[in-house]
Symmetry: C2
Subunit: 425 residues, 2 copies
């Protein structure tokens, strides 16, 4: 078919009618399909069942140094967990805190503490500033934005391109405004685009000269080894900061939630020795420690970096046909119509669909009517406002393959219809 905007209005009307009928037929089927959240599928979870057999009476519960993982202690984490996950984050073995199960909560907690007390070197708690602002690369992760909104932090959009955030803008804004205290970033297989930051971008991030001396980059390395098609080797953001003369400017977060079990994984943060010491001292006011049994389970199950790599290859083998299905359906159904573009990622958990302006909300609404749940349009942007109403995040991981294919048929029909409706206006 020709691009929609080259069709005669009669042909457009006819196509629209066909699509409307299709949507009605989908709706009548009572579908209940979900492509909303980046949840691993059951077969992915099955990969980690061995984890549950690693610490018990027969396997033992003692960690290195004869530490009884069943009792209190070791606030910054078990030695062997720190060693493994420091390698995972690419930081020196002691420059890490291994905590509870949620890296999102760790990020929230760090930011909440910054508000309440400031970070290392802050002249005052951030709540005592006239205002606190954060740079937010868009499209981005809705839960990062919710944290800022909850804490009353003003968010400033920074557009992303194929190399990462617009660094001219990041440099300009951060240098000009001392109330800009930080920035979010997901450097690898970014949520939602799946694109990774180029080394050039990471180097420029590390060399920023923010007006705020206590500027902090909250770097969520959620997909550090989460390839789907191809593993990418990025410059380490903490190294880039050291090279750029900003050793304390960045916190690097990660977790095993999409390596083993979401919600029951292990979360960790890497940072400069000074940041880690400062944070550990603060954490000692908050808790006695976190679940060391679960840390030991993870180390025994994953073993080492080769073990993690092997595990991630297994995940990729399960995810690949799902990503293929989404991309192939988009290709087959939408290529050349002018009804939207999409970004093929090398890894991560999402495929981003970029609709014609003003169509994203409509696509999500149409899908919902037909029983296919997507993340709300707008969720990719601070305050839920996508200024051009273009971005839709597709999460292919959770539904079984056949359901996913069905959901994508609905999606493409919705995308076509929304584009045609827009053309008719």
């Amino acid at each position: 078919m020709k691009p929609y905007d080259e069709l005669s209005s009669a042909d457009r009307a006819k196509e629209k009618e066909t699509l409307q009928d299709l949507m009605k037929s989908y709706a009548s089927r009572g579908l209940a399909l979900n492509m909303a959240r980046g949840k691993p599928g059951e077969d992915q979870l099955d990969l980690s069942m061995g984890l549950l057999e690693t610490v018990n009476a027969s396997q033992g519960f003692l960690a290195e140094g004869n530490i009884d993982t069943r009792n209190y202690g070791e606030l910054t984490g078990l030695g062997e967990a720190k060693k493994l996950f420091a390698q995972y984050l690419g930081v020196p073995a002691d420059d890490i805190i291994v905590g509870g199960s949620s890296s999102l909560n760790m990020m929230y907690d760090c930011l909440a503490r910054a508000m309440l007390t400031g970070v290392l070197g802050s002249p005052r708690p951030w709540v005592q500033e006239e205002k606190v602002k954060f740079l937010c690369p868009v499209p981005g992760y809705d839960r990062h934005f919710s944290i800022c909104q909850f804490l009353g932090i003003e968010m400033i959009n920074v557009p992303m391109d194929a190399e990462g955030p617009d660094m001219d803008l990041v440099e300009e804004l951060s240098a000009a405004d001392p109330l800009i205290k930080g920035m979010w970033c997901v450097p690898k297989y970014s949520n939602p685009t799946g694109l990774s930051y180029s080394d050039r971008v990471i180097r420029r991030l590390g060399a920023l000269r923010p007006a705020a001396k206590d500027f902090r980059i909250f770097c969520d390395n959620a997909y550090a080894m989460h390839l789907v098609y191809r593993d990418q080797d990025l410059l380490n953001p903490l190294d880039a900061c050291k090279e750029g003369g900003n050793p304390h400017m960045l916190y690097l977060f990660g977790s095993t939630n999409k390596i083993t079990f979401p919600g029951a994984g292990v979360a960790f943060m890497g940072a400069s020795k000074e940041n880690i010491a400062f944070t550990a001292k603060q954490l000692s006011m908050q808790a006695i420690g976190w679940d060391k049994i679960n840390m030991l389970r993870h180390v025994r199950f994953l073993k080492d970096m080769a073990g993690i790599r092997a595990q991630m290859e297994k995940h990729a083998a399960i995810l690949r046909p799902k990503f293929d299905a989404v991309l192939n359906t988009l290709e087959t159904q939408l290529r050349g119509l002018g009804a939207g573009e999409w970004i093929k990622p090398e890894g991560g958990y999402f495929i981003t669909f970029v609709a014609p302006p003003g169509c994203a909300k409509r696509i999500v609404a149409l899908c919902k009517e037909a029983g296919v749940v997507l993340t709300d349009a707008g969720a990719t942007h601070p305050y839920g406002i996508d200024p051009e109403d273009r971005y839709v995040r597709i999460a292919p991981s959770f539904p079984p393959l056949e359901e996913l294919k069905g959901a994508m048929e609905v999606f493409c029909t919705a995308a076509k219809l929304a584009a045609l409706e827009k053309l008719a206006v």
Copy 2:
């Protein structure tokens, strides 16, 4: 022997010399004994090994409602965990949030959020108040006080007696000062005295008329079923608040850390439906959920309230000889000397020694010289300042019985020597 203050100075000098020689002989033995923290002993931890076998490939991982505990979701906790721990706290089944592994962290988090955003009904975030003050029953738990100190909350001492905090003072202070936003309490087997609040005190707590309309009692029910000698049946503090017309005034915290594994347990908070809804909404900004696999492990292992009671009887059977040893040594060595008093608790993790004024720090220092580590004197009070320098917290749970007996010999010698030194001044 006669009371020290009735001895002739010659006899006192002689006794002092004997004690000094004894302390020297202890010191020369190179002891390394620890009665500092309320850690369960190894034999107590062994009671819960079955917990580690409850969720795995053969036992399954599905919770009620076919919820896959291995995946994201259920922010406020697994249904069956909420049901069991609501019974444990004595609240309706939905008036609870089951979270991560640390109730201390849950308390910190609640208080940090109160500072950042206020609680349900707050006119403004607490950080925007001129000052925030908390009432702190003393002696109390050092980690409660550290949280306040970390958050810049001014602490006001309220003396405890055998029935609980001095309620005349609590009523007077809370009614007079709108900057007093809350209060800590440990109603059962209180840390460190082991005494429980009387129903009369709990009823008066529930009927407070604080000047601050958003006053909150942080009620740490850490030892809800943790008998050593005798279980006590207390009025439920949340019920007392309802009856007193303050349904939203109290948060009730608990955990399984001293039922199963410290650090790898399950923590929870009970409160009014409105408080729980308010808190759950806030938590949804902080995390996707907590470790549901561990929740399921706990429900499968503990089963029900009868299961928890049986488990606590087993703990008590292990703790009782240790508490006996401490109390008997104190009785044998110190009774009638005027060298200090002690409180016999019915449960909990501590025995409080009340030294003659000005002696607590000296006792801890003397013990340390002889290789016996105690919690710092002063830790029982805000800012680490015990105004009369009297309270020493003894934690008998962790050392094996024989070590504990040795440590108590040292302790009693130190207590006698400190008292004599004081008399000589």
